[in-house]
């Protein structure tokens, strides 16, 4: 695809829109998560600031903006500052190939999913840098956990997506959506249920959310790799965490749940409805289950998810061969 001036302008506009989306997403998700947590824990959640506490998230972000950036002694300050920025920036690229709607795709490339998976790996680097640069033992342990967890959970994730890619015969996300129908039984979920299950589990693992939030396990490592971060450093990690959540949910919606195809009226709203439904599912899990132990986390991955995903891929390939 030639990068003409029009494309360039489109991509720049898309990046700006994505920054907006990330911020809005974080504000909405902070509010939604706190209200959901309140509902699950039988308390009201935020309700003081604004009607039903809706302004709470904005006030929180203002507070984080205004906070002094505290740097502990003996830290490698270049890496210490680079880490949150590195966590934030890849996410901008990651949203480009996502087809939100039939006419709402920033970057129509044939290898869309490859681009996403490649840049998603950057998140790990920022975690390592954050943990290493903060000169903190909790941070170091959190970083070590983050690396082995992310590396482990990327593999079944890719394997699960490969099943769908085999079916569609394309890595172009728009084509993957177009091959699926509007109704749930026409989605890839119906033909690849095992892959969907594996993807959802590894998606929770990949975004470091409970019950797989080992890198920032509060009761063990206080806050893991971002223990020493305050103010905007912390806010950037937070933003990128929610943006990553939205990303994996968008990918899930695109691959398994029909993307922008939906009953009655196709459009970008279906992508968002599906993605946010998945996000609320992750939130629900987080406030319900205790955390797994680290060896259990790796066991789930290497002993169950990986063999299952290979099996799924093999079955898909065999069936496709015979159908042809």
């Amino acid at each position: 695809m030639a990068l003409s001036l029009v494309n360039f302008v489109v991509v720049i506009a898309a990046v700006l829109l994505i920054i907006g989306l990330m911020v809005v997403n974080a504000v909405i998700m902070v509010y939604a998560e706190r209200k959901t947590a309140g509902f699950i824990q039988r308390r009201p959640g935020p309700y003081e600031v604004g009607p039903w506490g809706t302004v709470q998230a904005i006030c929180d972000s203002m507070k984080l903006l205004g906070k002094q950036i505290f740097i502990p002694g003996n830290v490698d300050w270049i890496l210490f500052f680079a880490a949150p920025v590195l966590a934030f920036f890849p996410v901008l690229l990651l949203f480009l190939p996502i087809p939100f709607g039939p006419y709402l795709t920033a970057l129509k490339v044939d290898e869309g999913i490859l681009l996403i998976l490649a840049f998603a790996g950057f998140g790990v680097i920022s975690n390592i840098l954050a943990g290493w640069a903060s000169n903190n033992k909790y941070g170091l342990l959190g970083a070590a956990r983050a690396v082995s967890q992310s590396v482990a959970y990327e593999i079944p994730m890719i394997m699960a997506l490969l099943g769908v890619i085999f079916l569609t015969g394309s890595m172009n996300l728009t084509q993957i959506v177009e091959r699926q129908g509007a109704w749930p039984w026409q989605w890839n979920l119906a033909v690849q249920p095992l892959a969907f299950f594996i993807y959802v589990v590894s998606m929770v693992g990949e975004t470091n959310r409970a019950p797989f939030d080992l890198p920032e396990a509060e009761s063990e490592l206080t806050a893991g790799f971002h223990t020493e971060y305050s103010g905007m450093g912390f806010a950037l990690f937070f933003l990128s965490e929610y943006a990553n959540m939205l990303l994996v949910c968008c990918v899930c919606a695109t691959f398994f749940l029909g993307g922008w195809r939906g009953p009655f009226l196709d459009g970008f709203w279906w992508t968002f409805i599906k993605a946010y439904a998945l996000m609320m599912f992750i939130v629900w899990i987080r406030w319900t289950f205790p955390r797994v132990r680290f060896d259990q986390l790796l066991n789930i991955n290497w002993k169950w998810l990986l063999p299952l995903s290979i099996l799924n891929l093999w079955i898909t390939a065999v069936i496709l061969k015979f159908v042809d």
């Binding site: 699950i40 009761s219 132990r293």
Partner: protein, 397 residues
């Protein structure tokens, strides 16, 4: 590192690597192996619940050695017992263990009564049993919530708080306070139970039984929780006896010991209650024993409410605040939520006791942590620490 020894734009100067740390860390580090991390868990750490500090030596995530450091909440309760009259010392007892203050009330009041030969009216004994068991239920509920929070489940503690609020409301009717209760007086209790107290208590028992069923389904049977607790941190009878551990920790190990039955006091012999012992001595065993103890306490409360006699709550010649202890010594032990609580009182006949010794079960239970945590994963060590049910003010006294 000299290359980096400059002032960064934010004014933080790089310093050469020095071995930082206080006496405890440095002393602990002397025996460290090479390529290990020495990590300070606490005194400010989310899962040490208060100001306990544990120094651990980690090989990766495995705990090679652990050493608790105490004293961050030492408040000299024993010394205060020597400079205050028994009456003035009474409110201290609610502050020793903020989760089960009534048991500490009881141990002090009981030791003084034993020394001065004061008889307690039967109604007061029943009220003591009811309030103490209610408080034990509150303490166990609080532990349950905090323990599941140590394992990463944030929600149950808020459910536990809700139940505990109801107990606090009930105890507030008679004692006037909600946390640092001092309800007992020498010879009885400070206030009689009114109808509201009795009605709310009677309503609370079936309510909590119903809730416990929900907790069983929601938390206890959860597969993640089971896998986190099964076979983690086995503490056998032998280890318990070497360190003097009592209470649910000892009972989970399989030894059926309970002060309420073995060294009977008050009107406990009149009640028929189950003393749960664990089938397994791991963290899950301790978890199940505590939940079963809630049921046992509820049954005691029910029986006490049924047979609550009428009568006075203080003896006719109840001691006045000016009373003097006779010379001599006495020891009184009760079963607290964390194990056997004891108070040894020595008086030389003066205004204040000569010596007051408090036996805190948490102290003994904590001392076995170093051995139990050896060779476990960090997450398991946190689970073991949580399963000991520590209340730091009680450990430090």
């Amino acid at each position: 590192m000299d290359r980096f020894n400059f002032i960064n734009p934010f004014g933080v100067r790089y310093q050469p690597d020095t071995v930082a740390g206080d006496f405890y860390t440095n002393n602990f580090a002397k025996k460290a192996e090479s390529n290990t991390i020495i990590l300070n868990l606490g005194p400010q750490h989310p899962s040490t619940h208060g100001v306990l500090r544990v120094i651990v030596e980690l090989d990766g995530e495995y705990v090679l050695r652990a050493e608790p450091v105490l004293g961050y909440l030492h408040r000299m309760h024993e010394k205060m017992g020597e400079v205050k009259t028994p009456w003035q010392f009474l409110p201290n007892m609610g502050r020793v263990d903020y989760l089960h203050p009534i048991a500490w009330n009881w141990v002090h009041v009981g030791a003084v009564e034993r020394l001065a030969g004061i008889t307690v009216p039967e109604r007061a004994e029943y009220l003591r049993v009811i309030s103490c068991e209610l408080n034990r239920v509150a303490s166990h509920l609080m532990w349950w919530g905090a323990f599941v929070m140590d394992l990463g489940g944030v929600t149950p503690i808020l459910y536990a708080f809700e139940e505990r609020e109801k107990i606090n409301d009930i105890l507030q009717i008679v004692s006037g306070s909600r946390l640092t209760i001092s309800y007992f007086r020498f010879g009885g209790v400070s206030a009689d139970a009114d109808d509201r107290f009795l009605r709310l208590t009677a309503e609370f028992v079936p309510y909590l039984r119903q809730r416990l069923k929900m907790y069983q389904a929601l938390v206890t049977d959860n597969i993640i929780l089971r896998r986190r607790l099964e076979k983690v941190g086995p503490i056998g009878v032998d280890m318990c006896q070497r360190y003097g551990a009592t209470g649910p920790v000892l009972r989970a190990a399989g030894l059926n010991r309970d002060t309420r039955r073995d060294i009977p006091y008050s009107v406990y012999p009149k009640f028929d209650f189950n003393i749960p012992t664990g089938p397994v001595d791991d963290c899950l065993g301790r978890y199940l024993v505590r939940l079963a103890e809630i049921e046992a306490s509820l049954s005691i409360i029910e029986q006490a409410l049924e047979s609550l006699p009428a009568g006075p709550i203080l003896p006719p010649k109840a001691p006045k605040p000016t009373f003097k202890l006779p010379a001599g010594e006495s020891y009184f032990a009760v079963e607290g939520a964390r194990g056997q609580i004891g108070l040894h009182l020595i008086s030389d006949g003066g205004k204040t006791p000569y010596r007051v010794k408090l036996r805190a079960p948490g102290f003994s239970n904590l001392s076995l942590f170093a051995e139990a945590a050896r060779g476990t994963l960090l997450a398991d060590a946190i689970a073991i620490l949580g399963s000991l049910d520590l209340v730091i003010p009680e450990v430090d006294r």
